[in-house]
């Protein structure tokens, strides 16, 4: 029915950086029905209490999630996921500890899928040594450079704040396309990892529909390192405004996601009066330095989705109402 693309999140990073902890955290904290693809069950240990049933090539998890391996290749894993019952709302691929996440992210371009973000984990205590290691320096640097979102994990193990600042600055230099976020025990707020809004109206779960979920993410403070801003759109918006917004995002923005109706430039004189037929629904996203704007097919038989843009920023990085004012100024 829907031709919306299944969002793909790639989790990469060197051995011991906390990838598996992050995957377990996502499975525990997200309301989405997630399919996890791992390289190898031997490397990944899904927390036992999340596992409902296990067989040799598939784990059935709580909340309708499943976990498969790449044992027979990605095509076979995808077939397995598609035949397992209710379709997932997100695909999470955990790369092996030596994989180049860019290569894994290529799977996100399979028809029907859409790459959401490449999340790379770094071990705050070990990453400097690893990035200069005789054998793996180049591998680790390649991984860091592939990140959209670079999670500096185990930050609590560093003795003082200035060390953490130095480390994050240094990592930002190795990963120029990424937003750097800090975490302990991989506890990155779920909206930072997966985006501040549901990727589409199709991801509603009976337990927690999209509206309620979006409202929850409007809590302004996402734990204590981040804050969010949301603008609800009551009218279509001119395409150049959106393009300009995405082109000039300040560094403090960690993630941005929006579902909106955009009007092509020719008919922007009075956007609010434009007939719906002249507009196209788009999903806009920004993570790290990567931004995207993709047509978002809507189902005419369903109530229209809630048109809104949300962002998450490092706390204190943006003036309050930056998003609303930025849109107004550009308008």
């Amino acid at each position: 029915m829907s031709t919306q693309r299944l969002p793909v999140t790639v989790v990469g990073g060197y051995l011991g950086a906390g990838k598996t902890t992050l995957v377990n955290h996502v499975l525990r904290s997200s309301n989405e029905r997630i399919a996890v693809i791992v390289n190898d069950f031997g490397e990944v240990s899904i927390d036992e209490d999340l596992i409902v049933a296990a067989d040799s090539d598939k784990l059935t998890l709580a909340n309708g999630c499943i976990c498969c391996t790449l044992a027979d290749g990605f095509a076979a894993a995808l077939m397995q996921i598609r035949s397992a019952g209710t379709l997932p709302q997100r695909l999470l691929i955990e790369a092996s500890g030596v994989a180049d996440p860019t290569q894994i992210a290529a799977y996100g371009h399979t028809p029907g899928l859409g790459l959401d973000a490449v999340v790379v984990m770094a071990d705050a205590e070990q990453v400097r040594r690893q990035a200069n290691d005789r054998w793996v320096a180049d591998t680790v640097r390649l991984q860091l450079a592939a990140a959209d979102l670079l999670v500096v994990n185990k930050i609590d193990l560093l003795d003082d704040a200035s060390k953490a600042d130095d480390l994050c600055d240094w990592l930002a230099g190795l990963s120029p396309g990424a937003t750097v976020v800090r975490a302990s025990r991989a506890a990155v707020p779920i909206d930072v990892l997966l985006g501040p809004l549901p990727a589409s109206d199709a991801v509603d779960t009976p337990e927690r529909p999209a509206l309620e979920r979006a409202a929850a993410s409007r809590s302004h403070v996402v734990e204590n390192l981040f804050e969010s801003q949301t603008v609800v759109l009551d009218a279509p918006i001119a395409m150049p405004i959106i393009e300009s917004l995405l082109a000039d995002l300040p560094d403090g923005v960690v993630r941005l996601k929006g579902l909106l109706q955009a009007v092509p430039p020719a008919s922007t004189e009075d956007a609010s009066k434009t007939e719906a037929a002249d507009t196209t629904a788009y999903l806009i996203e920004a993570v790290g330095k990567r931004t995207s704007m993709t047509p978002h097919p809507t189902d005419a038989t369903q109530p229209p989705p809630r048109w809104a843009i949300s962002l998450i920023a490092h706390k204190g990085a943006l003036p309050p109402n930056w998003l609303a004012e930025g849109l107004a100024r550009r308008g």
């Binding site: 031997g42 092996s96 371009h109 793996v136």
Partner: protein, 559 residues
């Protein structure tokens, strides 16, 4: 000690035993599946009631060749049409001449398409090596001219690329909107049918999955062994292709090898190369259990690990100065497929279970990491005679060979590379100096490291006389000698393809030489490799094999 059962004496032009204490004989005597003895016909006759069979009177008998590194897909791939550059004989014995131009490839595909009854069936082909077609690239547009509407997939020799035709692109929804970096584009900016790496190849969907799953069938296992028999091999090592924890794959091995006519012994390595449901300790336990249930024809007890990629794919881990002339955009060095930090723990799991670890190491960084891991594990858990083996061992350095000798490690050297890619190694991958010391049998020998040589079939064709020819002559496809100082003698090469290969899979008590009490596994040759011109070693005809006393004539279906 009792009277032997009635036995058979096979007089031969010569028996080459590979037993240094009794190197040659006039005849060999076989009782049941075992060798009763070797010597003169009279000496053997004195054992008692016997029959003399003169069928090998004009032949030379050697121990059956032992391949310690190949893959069962060399049987499965023959479900598809061969379009490789070099001549290759299929398991039915038919010779497929090499396709040495794009037109040859298209002609082969046109014929294959014409021979298919069902118009909707996908045409699958393998072995394409564009490195030999400089200039024009074979793309979908070419395929379309001979395949029409029939979906077609051609797997490249490297295994990292595939080229598909427009019909298959249509079926898989690959068009100008494709965003995958695995979809190659032509000068016009449109997808040209070439799919790169797993992320690209998987877009071919069923066609690709079907090609891979064909390797698990009983038919693939039969073809695998038929090819062995045709080349004089009596033992094949399936090194890391089978998922042994999958009951279907294991049972297919049990089923074919329990057939008394199955023409090879098979050592099936434990491997978690492509992911598995278990951790190394569990896999080690499974391997130990399988070993306790093994039969004469189906063997277990070795483990395959993998550290890096391939040299010709520029993905092997090579120490500074790294690659000589890598392609534009290359990241500087190869890829680790297992984290070096994990190696010692992985090796330890299998080492402590009493198993032998065989680790794929093409580049010298990979062999260094494996040797380091074995050394650490031996400090923690001393164990004699483990025979952990560096597989491929292509750029292993003299200092590394010295360490391997000290640690009791073996080498399985990929000599066929000298012929098939030696020119590319000299001109592009590693440059003249390091190419000259690649696949260093001479250094291994001088260092006292037990070594074998291998084909890695289907990567290169199975056939130990050819592999020995490569190690002895080091001649490349263009006819130049690469690294003459690493050449070894014919007798040393014959040891490498028999007793030394058996040694590194711990079967040297049973096979690998012709001695009283060992299994009666022979390669039966039309000429004598010790008196032939070394440059003619690979041209010696093969009558077939004897496997456990059973005659297995080669099947060659053309003149």
């Amino acid at each position: 000690m009792g009277t032997p059962q009635p036995f058979v004496i096979y007089p031969a032009r010569r028996v080459i035993t590979i037993n240094p204490a009794f190197p040659f004989g006039e005849a060999v005597a076989v009782a049941g599946d075992r060798i009763l003895g070797v010597g003169s016909t009279d000496e053997l006759a004195s054992w008692g009631e016997h029959r003399i069979d003169d069928c090998f009177a004009e032949h030379v008998i050697m121990p059956g060749f032992v391949e310690a590194h190949c893959h069962v897909m060399s049987g499965g791939l023959w479900n598809s049409t061969y379009v490789g550059y070099f001549d290759r004989r299929d398991p039915q014995g038919q010779l497929w001449p090499g396709c040495t131009s794009i037109d040859d490839v298209l002609e082969r595909l046109a014929k294959a398409a014409a021979d298919m009854a069902d118009d909707s069936q996908t045409l699958l082909a393998w072995g394409l090596d564009p490195i030999y077609f400089p200039g024009e690239r074979l793309v979908a547009r070419h395929l379309d001219t001979v395949t029409g509407d029939r979906p077609t997939l051609v797997l490249h020799a490297s295994g990292h690329l595939a080229t598909i035709n427009s019909a298959l692109m249509d079926r898989c929804g690959i068009d100008e909107t494709a965003t995958s970096p695995g979809v190659a584009r032509g000068g016009d900016g449109l997808p040209n049918g070439e799919l790169h790496e797993p992320a690209g190849m998987m877009l071919a969907g069923d066609a690709f999955v079907d090609m891979m799953k064909a390797n698990r069938s009983e038919q693939a296992r039969w073809r695998y062994a038929n090819e062995a028999r045709n080349a004089g091999h009596t033992l094949l090592t399936d090194l890391g292709t089978t998922q042994l924890w999958d009951p279907d794959q294991l049972n297919n091995w049990k089923k074919v090898t329990s057939d008394p006519t199955y023409p090879a012994r098979v050592m099936v390595a434990m491997s978690n190369l492509f992911g598995s449901a278990a951790d190394p300790a569990e896999l080690a336990e499974l391997c130990v259990q399988l070993k306790s249930e093994q039969t004469d024809k189906l063997r277990f007890g070795i483990v395959k690990l993998i550290l890096d990629g391939s040299i010709q794919g520029f993905t092997a881990r090579i120490s500074w100065p790294h690659y000589y002339k890598p392609p534009p955009g290359h990241i500087g060095n190869g890829l680790w497929l297992t984290a070096p930090d994990q190696m010692a723990d992985l090796v330890e799991s299998y080492h402590r279970a009493g198993l032998t670890v065989h680790c794929h190491c093409n580049g010298d960084e990979a062999s260094e990491v494996f040797i380091d891991a074995v050394e650490q594990v031996l400090e923690r858990h001393p164990r004699w005679d483990h025979r952990h083996t560096v597989q491929h061992c292509q750029l292993t350095t003299p200092d590394q060979y010295r360490r391997m000798a000290a640690l009791g490690m073996c080498a399985n050297i990929f000599s066929n590379h000298i012929y098939y890619w030696g020119d590319q190694h000299r001109d592009a991958t590693v440059g003249p100096e390091r190419a000259a010391r690649m696949d260093a049998c001479g250094t291994a020998l001088a260092s006292g490291v037990s070594f074998s040589i291998h084909s890695d079939s289907p990567i290169t064709p199975l056939g130990h006389l050819h592999t020995a020819w490569c190690a002895v002559n080091r001649v490349t496809a263009s006819g130049q000698v690469l690294g003459p100082d690493e050449r070894i003698s014919v007798p040393d090469a014959l040891r490498a393809i028999t007793i030394e290969a058996a040694r590194q899979i711990k079967m040297d008590a049973e096979i690998g030489s012709i001695e009283a009490g060992k299994l009666a596994d022979f390669a039966v040759l039309e000429d004598d490799p010790l008196t032939a011109d070394p440059m003619a070693l690979r041209d010696i005809g093969i009558w077939g094999t004897v496997l456990g006393g059973v005659l297995q004539p080669a099947q060659i279906s053309d003149a």
